[in-house]
């Protein structure tokens, strides 16, 4: 999976590809490195001003509240998946407990606003700081083991959190019902269907922060050590660099970004349920990242947006009468979202290694091979 996913190069380094034309027959890249983020940012920022109807793709026009809400959810999960990929794709740490930090942010903020009636800004601040501290402490313990044992240990911690939330011994978390957002402590700009556009801005801001932090850290010396750890942890330690603090830093930053995402999710969704604490939710993040392409610049964001959108559409289809015409042997499995998710996962591993962002390259390579076959028989 790690083969050729390292697209996180500084803009200038593509010149090396041009300097060795033997190895790379493609044209040197003329588009500057900031162009793609700028285009995406402009696109996202102008979306709410568009009244473009997309029949079949979206229910209402682009700026209808339902569409904006869906897009906001997509973007929150996009930022969250990017934070997960900081661990999985960039450092090579397989964590099965990322949901814990997301849920910690959402639940803590909901509790602070609900029971203590703290204003949004303070609640968010305390929730994010606590979520980050939690990931620091649990990361410090979990990272004492590596590889598959790390996956099991992070899963165990997240499961403990999930049990705590669902069993609800302190009568705080609302069990499986979850908590709803206390509207009294939230500024009026984030309340009501008319203000969905503000929640959308918030989601855009969160996705931008998550993507920005992950990209920026990837380009720093720390990011280089992370890439080294992903490639070969033993070699990094032989070079005299202790991998542990670097791994812990990645774990903490990813956890902090996830808890920030939890706060944004609380606002966008108007509440939290125990579904975001489960191991299945972390596995969903893993699907999103693998779908888009692990360790790539846009992969996690793209994968999360595509996944969340498809998931939403499938739920709509399952609720409508489209599936009723199918024989029950086909309809019954299709009505199980987890069946579709799991099958998608298996197919991804076998047929789309590298995810969506690797597709253009694979198509190009296939075309080139075919071109070679025809010109040089």
């Amino acid at each position: 999976m790690n083969v050729d996913t390292d697209t996180n190069r500084a803009p200038g380094t593509s010149a090396t590809a041009a300097a060795t034309p033997v190895a790379d027959v493609r044209r040197p890249r003329r588009v500057p490195g900031w162009a793609a983020p700028a285009v995406v940012a402009v696109l996202l920022l102008t979306l709410p001003f568009s009244t473009l109807p997309l029949p079949g793709v979206l229910e209402g026009t682009l700026n209808s509240p339902a569409t904006l809400h869906l897009l906001a959810t997509c973007l929150v999960f996009g930022g969250l998946a990017t934070s997960y990929d900081l661990l999985y794709g960039r450092v090579g740490l397989l964590s099965f407990g990322h949901a814990l930090y997301f849920a910690a942010g959402a639940y803590l903020a909901a509790l602070l606003m609900g029971t203590l009636e703290l204003p949004l800004l303070w609640s968010a601040l305390i929730a994010v700081v606590s979520g980050t501290a939690l990931s620091l402490v649990l990361g410090a313990v979990s990272l004492r083991v590596s590889g598959i044992a790390l996956a099991m240990v992070t899963l165990a911690f997240a499961q403990a959190g999930s049990i705590l939330v669902i069993r609800d011994p302190g009568r705080l978390t609302g069990g499986e019902e979850g908590l709803s957002l206390n509207p009294d402590t939230v500024p009026g700009a984030f309340i009501g269907v008319v203000n969905t556009v503000n929640l959308y801005w918030l989601a855009v801001a969160y996705a931008a922060v998550a993507v920005g932090v992950v990209w920026w850290l990837g380009a720093t010396p720390v990011g280089r050590v992370w890439r080294g750890i992903r490639a070969n942890e033993q070699r990094v330690s032989v070079l005299g660099v202790n991998p542990y603090p670097y791994k812990l830093a990645a774990f903490t930053v990813a956890g902090g970004l996830a808890s920030l995402g939890g706060v944004v999710y609380l606002l966008v969704a108007g509440g939290v349920t125990s579904a975001i604490t489960t191991a299945e939710f972390t596995l969903t993040l893993l699907v999103m990242v693998s779908l888009g392409g692990a360790g790539t610049r846009w992969g996690p964001l793209l994968g999360a947006v595509v996944y969340t959108y498809v998931d939403h559409r499938l739920l709509q289809l399952a609720a409508s009468d489209v599936f009723d015409t199918l024989p029950s042997a086909v309809r019954a499995p299709l009505s199980q979202p987890l069946f579709i998710l799991g099958t998608l996962f298996v197919l991804l591993v076998f047929f789309f290694p590298g995810g969506l962002t690797a597709l253009p390259g694979r198509v190009r390579a296939a075309l080139r091979d075919r071109g070679r076959a025809t010109t040089a028989p």
Binding site: V145, F157, Q234, S335, L348
Partner: protein
């Protein structure tokens, strides 16, 4: 006193269940470096196949020999599923551990969902033979009889696995493969055949755990395996990931801790207590009780 006895036997019963799941996991993990999430799916398959056989299969039923036939059918179904999974999706990804894990994750989501699509999400009443349905008085406590059955079966499986490891040729290959797979391969022994065998054994043990879990809980649900699996993971980490005996010790410890903490504190804290023990083991004995994990990298 009677409460303590009841808690001990119930904890041992739960530990027996954990051991049946965790032993297969630790074998697969030790030999193949695969964290087998699909193990919970094998458990569901075993449980539902046993239930199906007791209702539909001629000669099988809820009682006596009929129940044995049902369980045999369930175990056979689990073994078959595990073999097919190994040959179909694990083997093509040979040497790519991370992709192997991802595939089993996909199966762990898809298979229980499929079971749910066919038989519904509601718990199904599991057939209970008359022989193990009552309670037995022991030191003043009334112990459900099925707990003894669970403990006896787990002990038999433990002995069987130890004999398999020490007395058979395949056991030798598996043990050597756990120690140094590259060397065994270099000696010209086909480790892959033992992969399939180990996967089949693991699937059989998981399916057996599914059938016995049905007895323990009285009902079966599609996602029962998934929740049991997480504790089996904890058992595997505490037990040191590759040793069968370490696995048995950790299973018993986890089962007992869970029962006692759940009874003497708030319900649900037992599950948390297990995780705290896991953290403590990690902090004091890096890499579990047997200390093999630390050097492994996915």
């Amino acid at each position: 006193m009677s409460t303590v006895v009841l808690l001990v036997v119930t904890g041992l019963g739960l530990g027996a269940l954990y051991f049946l799941i965790a032993s297969g996991l630790s074998l697969i993990f030790g030999l193949m470096d695969v964290l087998n999430f699909a193990h919970g799916a094998f458990l569901s398959i075993g449980a539902y196949a046993t239930w199906w056989a007791s209702v539909h299969l001629p000669g099988a039923g809820p009682d006596g020999l009929g129940f044995l036939v049902s369980v045999a059918f369930g175990v056979a179904a689990g073994t078959l599923a595990a073999t097919l999974v190994e040959l179909g999706v694990i083997r093509p990804l040979y040497g790519r551990h991370r992709e192997q894990i991802l595939v089993t994750v996909g199966l762990s989501l898809a298979v229980p969902a499929l079971v749910q699509a066919v038989w519904g999400a509601d718990p199904l009443q599991f057939p209970r033979p008359a022989l193990v349905s009552g309670t037995v008085p022991l030191l003043g406590a009334a112990i459900p009889t099925d707990r003894f059955l669970l403990i006896a079966v787990a002990a038999l499986v433990l002995v069987g696995l130890l004999l398999f490891g020490s007395r058979t040729r395949y056991g030798l290959i598996v043990r050597a493969g756990v120690e140094d797979r590259a060397m065994v391969t270099a000696l010209g022994i086909d480790v892959r055949r033992s992969f399939t065998l180990v996967f089949a054994i693991g699937g059989a043990a998981a399916a057996l755990a599914g059938a016995l879990g049905g007895l323990y809980f009285g009902v079966i649900t599609p996602f029962q395996g998934t929740s049991l699996l997480i504790f089996a993971f904890i058992v595997v980490v505490i037990g040191g990931t590759t040793s069968t005996v370490g696995c048995a010790v950790a299973s018993v410890a986890v089962g007992l801790i869970q029962q006692f903490a759940n009874y003497y504190t708030v319900a649900g804290l037992g599950d948390i207590a297990v995780v705290i023990v896991l953290a403590a083991v990690l902090l004091t004995r890096r890499g579990g009780l047997a200390g093999v994990t630390a050097g492994r990298v996915a």
